[in-house]
Symmetry: C2
Subunit: 354 residues, 2 copies
DNA sequence: TAAAATAGCGTGTACGTACCTTATTTTTAA
DNA sequence: TTAAAAATAAGGTACGTACACGCTATTTTA
C-alpha cells in the first residue's frame, strides 16, 4: 500500500496524505481522521527504499569509549561497532569513535565537549567514569540527542537502550564453575584487578554474585574466601599477587572479576610447580586470557559477547533512525562459558546477522 | 557517486553507463572500457534504495524442514527464520516453511516436489533424510536455485552457505564437563535417543567426540563407558532407559547426544532416590530439557543457537539476493554451555541484530 | 468594502536506478 | 550508390516518498 493508493481511497491528493503522515497540519480534522483510519486499516508502512532514496540522509553516530591498547577489552566492542558500521553504511549510518583516558576526568570532558560540538544524531556511551557520564547524559537529553549505554547503566538516565550483561549473575556463574572444579571445598581468592581508579559497578556486582552463590550453597562451611584489590601497573603488583594467591598456604581457586586475570595467570605460570592444582576463572576473551586458557592455566572464562554489544549498540540506531522502529530497552547478553573445548567457535568466528 | 555522475565523467549518456553495468551489450569496446575504468576508480556501488525502489522485487524463499510439535528442537530454527522474515520483509524477502515427516521418504519427496513447483528464489534445506536431500540438492543446482544447508552438511553439494555446529567438538565439550562433574572417574553411559530411523551424522559425531576426549585424557583408565541406542515411542523405551542407566550398579554420568535427554531425566526424576549422584549432560535448550536443568536433574546443556542458525539462513539470502554481497560459506555457531546460573539470558532473551 | 492573511488542499520535482523507446550513426548488401 | 539493417547512443518514464510551492476559498484586518 502506497501513499498514492491511500490518497485515492480517501479521495484526497497525495499531498494531503503526506501532511497527515508527517503531522504538518493544514488538514481539516475530518479529513485527517478519515486518512488516519485508512492508514490504520490497511496497515500502511512507508516503503523504506523510497524513503531512503528521497531523504538520502546521513546519520552521524559518535561513540565515546575508553581508549585501549591492542588486546584489551574495549577493542572488542569497538570491533563489533565497526563491523556494524560497515554493514549499515549503505543505510547512511556513519560511526566515529572518540576515546578518553579512564583515569582522566579532563580527558573525558574534553572528548565529551568535542562530541557535543559535532551535534551527532546519536551517541554510544560507556559510562566508565560514572559521575561524568551522568552529566553528559543530561546534556544529551537537553540537546535531544538519543544515546545508547553500553557495558553498564547509569542512574536516572533515559537511554534509547542499554546493552550489557547481568554482572551479579556472572559472578554467581563463576562461583558455580569454580566450586565444581575445586570439588566444593577449599580456599578461594577473589582478586579484583583494575587499570583505573574509578568505582566499577560491574566488578563489584560480580564479586557480590560470587559471594552470594557460595553463601547460599550447602557447602559454605567447606569454603574459605579472601578478597584483594590490585592496581595494574603499580610497582608492588607482583607482591600483591603473591599475597593474594598465598605464600605459605596455597589457595585452591582464584576468581578475577575483570578481564585482567592474565596478570595472575602469568605469575602462576612462572612458578607452575608451586601451584599444581590451582583452578582459575575470569572474565572476557581477550588474547592474553585466551592464551592462558589454551595453556590450561585458566580453566574457564566467562564471556559476555562484547562484539555483539558493540554491534547491537549501533544497530539500535539503525532501527531507531532509519527504520523508525521501537528499540528494545534493555539488552542483556548471555553469559558464555568458555573452556578449551569450545573456545574455537567463540574466538574468531563471530558472525553477524545482516 | 551515481550513474549520472559517471556518465558525465565518461561523456556519455546515462543509458550507456547502465548498459555497461548490466552487460546489456550495444556499447563499443572503448566506451565500455572507459566507463569500467571510471566505475573502478571512483569505487562505485549502486544505491540500494534506488535499486530496491525500481526493482520492487519479491524474493520467495522456501524452507524445507522436519515437522515438529511444540517444544521440539526444530521449533527453534523456525522461530529464528520467522524472526528474520519479519525484519527482512521490507526488503522483499518472503519466507514459507514446508514440512516433512522425518520417517517418511514419500513425505519428503512430495514436499520437495511442491517446493520445486514454486520455483523459489532460494531454498533452506535441513538434510535430515540425507539420501533424498542429496537428490534435491542436485535438482536445485540444475534449476540454478541457490540453497542454504542448515544443521548438517551433505556430500558433494555446493550450497550458498552451510550453517550449523561442530558436532565432534560438541561431544568433546560434553565429555569434559561430565568428567569434571564426576571427578574424572566412574561409569558413564552414552544414550543415543532418536525419534526417527535415519542415520544421523550429528549424533554420531557427538558420540565420537565424546569418546575421543576420554580416550585422549590421562584418566581414561578410571572411566568405564557403555553405549546404548533408544528409539522414542517404542514400547520398550522405559526398559531400555533402565538398562542404560544401570539396574544393579548405577552409572555416575549420562550423556545424551541429542535433544532427547529429557526422556532419561524424567525417568531419573521419578526414581530420584535411586540416583542421588547421577550427573547428566545433553544438548539443546528445549523446554523439556530446560525444566530438568532448572530442577537439577540435568547438569549441563550444550546449545548451538538454533534460532541464530535459522536467522542466519534467511539473512544469507538477504545478503546474496538483495545486497548482492558474497556470503560466508560455512558458519559454525558457538557451542554454548548452559547451567542453572546462566540459563536466564539464553532462554528467552535472544536478540537479533537488525 | 477592499486588502491581507490563512486554512485547506493539490501539484511538481528530486532522489538513483532499471528498462523501454526513439534517434543517430555505422555497416552491410544489393 | 543507395537502401536496408545493424550497431550504438540518447532520452524518457516509473518506482514511492518528502518537501517546497502554488492555488482557491474563506476569514481576518485595515
Amino acid at each position: 500500500m502506497t501513499i498514492k493508493e491511500i490518497a485515492k481511497l480517501a479521495n484526497v491528493s497525495l499531498g494531503t496524505v503526506d501532511r497527515v503522515i508527517h503531522k504538518r497540519g493544514k488538514v481539516s480534522k475530518e479529513t485527517e481522521k478519515k486518512i488516519l483510519d485508512i492508514i490504520d486499516k490497511v496497515n500502511y508502512t512507508p516503503n523504506i527504499y523510497a524513503r531512503g532514496l528521497v531523504l538520502n540522509k546521513q546519520y552521524r553516530i559518535k561513540a565515546l569509549l575508553p581508549e585501549f591498547r591492542q588486546g584489551q577489552y574495549w577493542e572488542m566492542p569497538v570491533k563489533g561497532m565497526q563491523n556494524a558500521a560497515t554493514n549499515l553504511s549503505q543505510f547512511g549510518i556513519q560511526l566515529e569513535v572518540l576515546y578518553f583516558d579512564q583515569n582522566s576526568v579532563t580527558s573525558f570532558n574534553s572528548a565529551a565537549k568535542q562530541l557535543l560540538s559535532y551535534k551527532p544524531d546519536g551517541v554510544i556511551l560507556a559510562p566508565v567514569i560514572n559521575f561524568e557520564a551522568v552529566k553528559l547524559s543530561k546534556k544529551l537529553k537537553d540537546a535531544q540527542i538519543p544515546y545508547v549505554l553500553i557495558d553498564s547503566l547509569i542512574q536516572n538516565s533515559e537511554p534509547l537502550s542499554f546493552i550489557g550483561q547481568d554482572a551479579f549473575q556472572s559472578g554467581r556463574l563463576a562461583a558455580k564453575l569454580l566450586c565444581t572444579e575445586i570439588n566444593l571445598k577449599g580456599s578461594i581468592s577473589i582478586i579484583s584487578i583494575k587499570n583505573n581508579e574509578n568505582y566499577n559497578s560491574t566488578l563489584q556486582q560480580r564479586i557480590e554474585g560470587f559471594k552470594d552463590y557460595i553463601a547460599n550453597s550447602d557447602f559454605i562451611d567447606q569454603i574459605s574466601l579472601n578478597e584483594s584489590h590490585i592496581h595494574v601497573g603499580s610497582p608492588d603488583m607482583p607482591m600483591a599477587i603473591e599475597n593474594a594467591i598465598g605464600t605459605k598456604e596455597n589457595v585452591d581457586g582464584v576468581f578475577v572479576p575483570s578481564s585482567m586475570i592474565h596478570h595472575v595467570a602469568a605469575y602462576v605460570d612462572r612458578y607452575r610447580q608451586r601451584f599444581p592444582n590451582l583452578k582459575m576463572i575470569g572474565n572476557d576473551l581477550i588474547p592474553n586470557n585466551i592464551r592462558h586458557l589454551e595453556k590450561g592455566t585458566i580453566h574457564y572464562l566467562i564471556g559476555q559477547r562484547p562484539e555483539n554489544q558493540g554491534y547491537y549498540a549501533l544497530s539500535s540506531f539503525y532501527k531507531h533512525l532509519v527504520l523508525g522502529q521501537r528499540v528494545a530497552e534493555d539488552i542483556y547478553l548471555p553469559l558464555d562459558i568458555i573452556t578449551q573445548e569450545n573456545l574455537k567457535y567463540y574466538n574468531n568466528n563471530f558472525q553477524y546477522n545482516f
